[in-house]
């Protein structure tokens, strides 16, 4: 996380130089500094900062796309023009370990089509989700794990 | 320097309260602060009153924003008088509490909340802004809620439920009334309101809003038919709290009625003041009857609080200078006497060793504590209006004012209520002082720590002395009351003091219109 601090510091410096103490100034400085740091990334060999930020951004974009899809699916369900709904509650074994990983996974599930995190077992090994279109629950479970958990873990680890 | 003096009645208890809150874990510090704050308040209030009575109305603009834009504090004779008397009651109850309050209540925040109550009371007395008045009412209300329930006994909680429910209605009503008044005048400053209201085209609407104020303040003042919260609650909290409630809370309602219906709503006195008159008359009788229906000392006193509110409002409703002076005099008398009665009832309860003051438990005081009887005799006789104590002068002034304006029915109601009170006082004396007790009174005072016993007795002595002093030498207070009455009857000085030379105050004479109006009870 040292690079984040450095990034911010540089952004502040940018603001000072420009005598522009607005949010706009900070944002501009931050992006600029980030680019500079990225260009200078060979200086920080073991740093995961860039993978995280860029990976995170990619994941976010994917997630937004999923939300659109999800909303569309729901809309169809609501308006009765899609496939008939077939709810089920499915247990998903967790590979994610840390709080952040689990939470991110759980949130993602909720935001994506037809699924919703109901609960996480106290031993943090199983996630229970409610699915709207669960004609084949086992398939859904596998899809979810493959599509999301792995992505999240890739970004965070 | 005078504007600091004028703001002092709010700032002193407020600062005291804040310091006490900071010292929430140190009851001893709180005690010292509370005492020091109360004494300071009495001293400053005295100086303020002297200044006001001698040099004229004192005005200060909070934040130096001129009226009617900023909030004005005004010490006119009535305000100054009320603040002095309130501060003395505050001191008495604070001192009594030092001897009486139990550790649970003390650690629950008695001292800071008590000071907050004083803030509310003094604030309501001194503010010249209607919305600000609402705010101080709320300060008073929340602190009264807390003080009422402090200790959390079953009885208290029960009482608090009723008190809170009804008072929340009252407070919403007041806020609504203030808002609606703003909605037709565009101002909140009371002096400014008095100038703008006559220019409102729709005077019927003004009357409706005035009635809303009667309701709102009537609820605070415990006028019929809005008094129910009072007998339901006043007998339940700690003694010092009962006393300060009985002494001050309803009187703030009366004060507000007095202020608003002499300064602001004087356009339709034939209607508004007739309503007040009816309410006052019924309140007197119902209150006195209530006090006779109960068989409990404190509850009887609660009803008496109600009964005498009627007397004060009667003066307001008649609204001649003499009648207004009578109300002012009666206010002072009643505050002192009611505080005293509740404090002494607490002491009597202690002596009878009981949890309550049911007549069945009392007795034998004449034998056990003759000196206390002497002390008790003064407020009791004053309550009954026996001369030459303070209550007599109040009654005399009211009778005079009523007869002069041909309000014979009201005078009759006043006298009948007075007679019922005499009955009550006789009965209380018989039950409390004369009757042989079920169990002999405890010699609690003797067994108490010296300091605590003093704390319990000193306020009683002081209050009885005040009552007695007013009684045998009434002229000082009478002339102050006359000054108050005159200033309430003709409020042009008030308006001029607040608005300065900017506005041209029209003399506003309350009561002039009323005598033309025929619809009097």
């Amino acid at each position: 996380m040292n690079l984040l601090a450095l990034n911010i510091l540089l952004a502040l410096a940018w603001m000072a130089v420009n005598a522009d103490f607005s949010l706009t100034g900070f944002t501009a400085g931050f992006i600029l500094a980030h680019l500079i740091l990225w260009l200078a990334r060979p200086l920080f060999p073991k740093e995961r900062y860039f993978r995280r930020t860029w990976g995170g951004a990619a994941y976010a974009i994917w997630l937004v796309k999923e939300i659109f899809v999800s909303a569309w699916a729901v809309a169809k369900g609501v308006l009765g023009i899609g496939p008939p709904i077939r709810p089920a509650i499915i247990a998903v074994p967790l590979e994610a370990k840390t709080d952040l990983e689990i939470t991110l996974f759980a949130c993602s599930i909720t935001l994506t089509p037809g699924t919703l995190t109901l609960d996480i077992s106290p031993d943090r090994k199983v996630l229970y989700m409610h699915a709207m279109f669960a004609a084949d629950p086992d398939q859904l479970r596998d899809d979810t794990k493959a599509a999301m958990e792995s992505r999240i873990l890739k970004v965070l680890r | 320097m005078n504007h600091w003096l004028t703001a002092a009645p709010i700032l002193v208890p407020l600062t005291t309260a804040a310091l006490c809150m900071l010292a929430w874990n140190y009851p001893v510090v709180q005690r010292v602060l509370s005492l020091a704050g109360s004494v300071t308040l009495v001293v400053l209030a005295g100086i303020l009153a002297a200044t006001t009575l001698n040099d004229g109305i004192q005005v200060v603009q909070m934040g130096a924003w001129a009226a009617p834009f900023g909030i004005t504090l005004v010490a006119d004779p009535l305000s100054a008088l009320m603040i002095v008397i309130a501060s003395i009651m505050g001191l008495c109850c604070a001192v009594y509490a030092l001897g009486d309050i139990d550790p649970v209540r003390e650690r629950g925040g008695f001292h800071p909340i008590f000071q907050v109550l004083m803030v509310g009371v003094c604030g309501a007395f001194i503010t010249g802004d209607l919305f600000n008045l609402y705010v101080w009412f709320e300060v008073m209300l929340i602190s009264s809620f807390v003080l009422l329930s402090l200790g959390g006994t079953k009885v208290q909680i029960d009482a608090a439920v009723k008190y809170v429910a009804i008072n929340l209605v009252a407070t919403a009503c007041l806020l609504l009334a203030v808002a609606l008044l703003y909605g037709i005048t565009g101002t909140l400053n009371m002096a400014d309101l008095s100038q703008r209201l006559p220019q409102v085209a729709n005077q019927g609407l003004v009357s409706a809003i005035a009635v809303l104020f009667i309701i709102a303040f009537g609820m605070k003042a415990a006028l019929f038919p809005f008094f129910f919260w009072l007998p339901a609650a006043y007998h339940t909290p700690a003694v010092a709290v009962q006393a300060i409630f009985a002494g001050l809370l309803t009187k703030v309602g009366v004060y507000s009625l007095l202020r608003v219906f002499t300064l602001i709503f004087i356009g339709d006195t034939g209607w508004t003041h007739s309503i007040l008159l009816w309410m006052a008359g019924i309140t007197m009788i119902v209150g006195a009857l209530g006090s006779l229906a109960t068989r409990d000392l404190t509850r009887a006193w609660s009803w008496q609080v109600v009964a005498h509110i009627g007397s004060m409002v009667m003066g307001l409703a008649i609204a001649t200078p003499l009648a207004l002076a009578a109300t002012a005099f009666y206010l002072v008398h009643d505050i002192v006497v009611k505080t005293n009665l509740f404090l002494s009832a607490g002491l009597v309860r202690r002596l009878s060793g009981g949890e309550d003051t049911a007549f069945a438990r009392l007795g034998g005081l004449f034998k056990a504590a003759p000196w206390l009887c002497v002390l008790l005799f003064i407020p009791l006789a004053s309550l009954a209006g026996f001369p030459p104590l303070s209550g007599f002068w109040g009654k005399l002034l009211l009778v005079k004012a009523g007869l002069e304006t041909q309000h014979y029915a009201m005078v009759a109601a006043l006298l009948v209520s007075g007679l019922l009170t005499i009955w009550l006082v006789g009965r209380v004396w018989a039950e409390m002082v004369w009757k042989a007790p079920v169990q002999p009174p405890a010699a609690l005072l003797a067994s108490m720590a010296r300091g605590r016993a003093y704390a319990l007795m000193l306020p009683l002595v002081l209050l009885s002395l005040i009552t007695f002093g007013i009684g045998v030498n009434p002229d000082r207070l009478l002339s102050v009351a006359a000054q108050v009455g005159a200033s309430l009857h003709d409020t042009s000085a008030y308006v001029e003091a607040v608005l300065g030379g900017k506005a041209e105050p029209v003399p506003t004479l309350v009561g002039e219109l009323q005598h033309q109006a025929g619809d009097r009870p």
């Binding site: 709080d99 689990i102 939470t103 | 600091w4 006490c20 929430w24 909070m62």
Partner: protein
């Protein structure tokens, strides 16, 4: 206390954000919507949420000071900010400005603290004694 991992993680992220937001709101309240009340309320809501998620004791640990102390300090600050006019001889609460900082801002901070302290005192008492 709500035994939920997701909620707790969410709160862990949200609480600092809310505190920041509340101070932001307090700070700019003089010029744009916001101010001591709103700021104080947001801050208090944040801590209340923390208490809901982690329990009252954890919240007290995060808060460090007793709500009543915060409350008293806030009230005192509010009162004292009006006393700064003593040397100038102007009435109570007359605003004094030094650059962009003025006694009204100080007063607003007092308001903020009182709201935080008052609300949290309520929440603490209700949660501890309510047992709910």
């Amino acid at each position: 206390m709500m035994d939920s991992l997701i909620l707790r993680t969410g709160v862990r992220i949200l609480l600092p954000l809310m505190l920041l937001f509340s101070i932001f709101i307090l700070w700019r309240g003089h010029h744009e919507p916001g101010g001591g009340f709103v700021g104080g309320l947001i801050c208090a809501v944040g801590f209340a949420l923390h208490a809901l998620a982690f329990g009252i004791d954890a919240m007290r640990r995060v808060l460090k000071a007793d709500p009543r102390t915060i409350l008293g300090a806030g009230l005192l600050l509010g009162i004292l900010s009006g006393f700064i006019t003593v040397p100038t001889g102007e009435p109570y609460m007359t605003a004094q400005w030094v650059g962009g900082l003025g006694t009204p801002v100080l007063f607003d901070i007092g308001v903020y603290l009182v709201v935080v302290g008052g609300v949290l005192a309520m929440v603490c008492a209700l949660m501890e004694e309510g047992g709910a």
